[in-house]
Amino acid sequence: MKRVYVNEEWCLGCHLCEYNCAYANSGLKDMVVALKDKKIFPRIRVEGEDRITFAVSCRHCTDPICVKSCIAGAISKRDGVVRIDRNKCVGCLTCVLVCPYGALAPGEDGIMQKCELCLDNACGAPACVTGCPNRAIVYEERSETQ
């Protein structure tokens, strides 16, 4: 399946992916309305400083530890995509603790949220990838071993 892969060599640390993510998941039609004067809660985070930066989001692990550890059964894997049912989340933060990539975090409402590859929002494909100016993140099919 297609996943978001990181080419940290080309990451500029511009943080555009974070803003594009927050906008994509806002459900609003205008970025200014969605993000102006607001704290953003993106599902992708740019890590690192100065020389090396890279954007981290859910790896949609083959054997996701978050799915196994969620006490409310809110996280599941469907068609290769790890999804969270925010109605079931009880806010225990177990997933935040176990995810080795820090891919789960509370949203504005305190309920956990994570990258679901923009498959269910208006974008249809990861907005972070579409908006990345230097192809530092790509959305593509790769063999599992890579």
């Binding site: 500029l12 640390g13 555009l16 594009n20 100065d50």
Partner: protein, 501 residues
């Protein structure tokens, strides 16, 4: 401040209704124009540092930014224009020679724009390039002037070494040092994919790029940086750089600050030492001396590589070219006064040299008159901006064109003309690792391939319109050109008729 103050050239206009304070502009501007004010909770800018490179404008996700020319003005004066006065102020402040980069921005005549191309109607049919074969391939090198037969009566078929190009365009010389590793990687990869050549410039060839040798022109300039036997043998052709259109008669100077790491290794000079290319080649003071260097280079490469001699278009270019055509060189490259540069004294860039259109027409005519046109191929550069310029150059007598500025534009250059600062926000004219990585060669080379593919299509369209199906049949075909708004003398030099004639 006070008498030294010069009002900033540009204004940064931020639409606060749209700015979401994402700070992308702040992170992307190497000139440190934008910053976030914690106290006021908004973005502010110090426009005095802005060079109008458009990086922030291009990356702002909400289109909240624009850069405009400041309208703060000195009193209007046709003789003492604002720019002229400010240059005086700058020199009075610094006592230094003014430096500029990229090509001459002055409103001097662009002859390409005063030349129109013919098309077929009724009596001779145009050709549809989508349905019929159309040849854009050219070969650069010495061509035999007559048929020779061996003792057995068979025609001798061996030609001197040739360069094959899939279209009559090459990327011209830009050294590693003046432009970045990723810019070179993009040019090398695109040239290879396109079946054309790029040029190392005078900075040597990075070891990673030897694999693109078949599509590389290796340059030998007056500083002889990075020149050694393997380097000479690595390329498809060798270019002796005698001069450059942007700064004829002037050497080069890459400041020690840019001679770091791989740049120093590739140039074969110590880190942080200034790379100074002398104005002359210290071993060339005559055509005979040039001939010696041409043949030394041929000797070093077993006579397998064509030798290009690159000169700036200057007043007596026709006589110079005639000499070069007799020196044993295979190709003459002429660089016009609008050509780009990484840094040149402003006065030289804007006032020295002649338009390449006139130089080309004069050289082609002179070589034909002397019966030595076949000795050499002619390549012209110095602001070839489009497929139409290429067609016009070929019809005026060129075998191929050199393009550099257009190639850099494809890589993201926005012609802010501050290459000399080394802080190119587009990752081109810089060696700062954080800026260099802004140019991903996957993207850069694909854009170059796009540009040249588009030009190739346009060249075929225009040729088809003229009823010509091979670029070779267009070369020197000045009947296909007409001048508009040119005087008798200009038409005479260009060797073309006026429109309506």
């Amino acid at each position: 401040m006070g008498v030294e103050f010069i009002y900033p050239e540009f204004e940064v206009v931020r639409n606060y209704d749209r700015c979401i304070a994402c700070r992308v502009c702040e992170r992307q501007c190497a000139n440190e124009v934008h910053f976030y004010s914690e106290e006021r909770g908004v973005m502010i800018s110090d426009e005095a540092k802005c060079v109008d490179c458009q990086r922030c404008v291009s990356l702002c996700p909400t289109r909240a930014l624009k850069i405009v020319k400041s309208d703060s003005t000195l009193r209007e004066n046709a003789n003492w224009q604002n720019d002229t006065i400010k240059e005086i102020y700058k020199q009075a402040n610094s006592g230094g020679v003014l430096l500029s980069s990229m090509g001459n921005p002055k409103p001097l005549p662009v002859y390409w724009d005063k030349i129109l191309i013919n098309a077929s109607q009724v009596t001779n049919p145009p050709i549809d390039p989508l349905r019929e074969p159309m040849e854009t391939q050219v070969f650069l090198g010495k061509k035999p002037s007559r048929i020779e037969r061996g003792k057995d009566g068979k025609i001798k078929c061996e030609l001197p070494p040739q360069i094959a190009l899939s279209l009559p365009v090459m990327f011209s010389a830009m050294s590693y040092g003046s432009i970045s590793y990723n810019a070179h990687a993009s040019l090398a990869r695109a040239a290879t994919e396109l079946g054309i050549l790029y040029n190392t410039g005078e900075g040597g060839l990075h070891e990673d790029f030897y694999k693109y040798g078949k599509n590389t022109v290796v340059q030998v300039a007056s500083g002889r940086f990075g020149v050694h036997e393997d380097y000479l043998n690595a390329g498809a052709a060798i270019e002796i750089k005698m001069g450059q259109g942007a700064k004829p008669g002037i050497g080069g100077h890459l400041p020690g600050a840019k001679i770091v790491g791989d740049v120093s290794r590739t140039r074969m000079i110590p880190e942080r030492s200034d790379a100074i290319s002398p104005a002359p080649h210290h071993d060339i003071y005559s055509i005979e001396d040039l001939r010696q260097l041409v043949f030394s280079l041929k000797e070093a490469t077993q006579y397998k590589k064509p030798v290009i001699v690159k000169v700036a278009a200057v007043h007596n270019i026709a006589a110079i070219a005639s000499g070069i055509a007799r020196s044993g060189a295979d190709v003459i490259a002429i660089d016009g006064f609008r050509g780009g540069t990484g840094a040149a004294p402003t006065r030289i860039r804007d006032n020295v040299g002649i338009p390449v259109e006139l130089a080309l027409a004069a050289v082609d005519k002179r070589l034909r008159d002397e019966g030595i046109r076949g000795n050499v191929s002619l390549v012209v550069g110095g602001s070839i901006r489009s497929a139409a310029d290429v067609i016009k150059a070929v019809a005026l007598g060129a075998d191929a064109c050199y393009v550099a500025t257009a190639a850099l534009l494809a890589l993201g250059c926005h012609l802010c003309r501050t290459c000399q600062s080394g802080k190119c926000n587009w990752g081109i004219a810089t060696q700062r690792p954080d800026l260099v990585k802004r140019l991903n060669p996957d993207i850069g080379s694909a854009r170059l391939v796009n540009l040249m593919t588009a030009w190739r299509h346009e060249i075929m369209e225009i040729m088809g319109g003229m009823g010509i199906n091979s670029i070779e049949a267009l070369r020197g075909n000045r009947l296909m050109l007409r001048g508009v708004g040119l005087n008798e003398k200009e038409l005479e030099i260009l060797g073309i008729s006026h429109a309506g004639e």
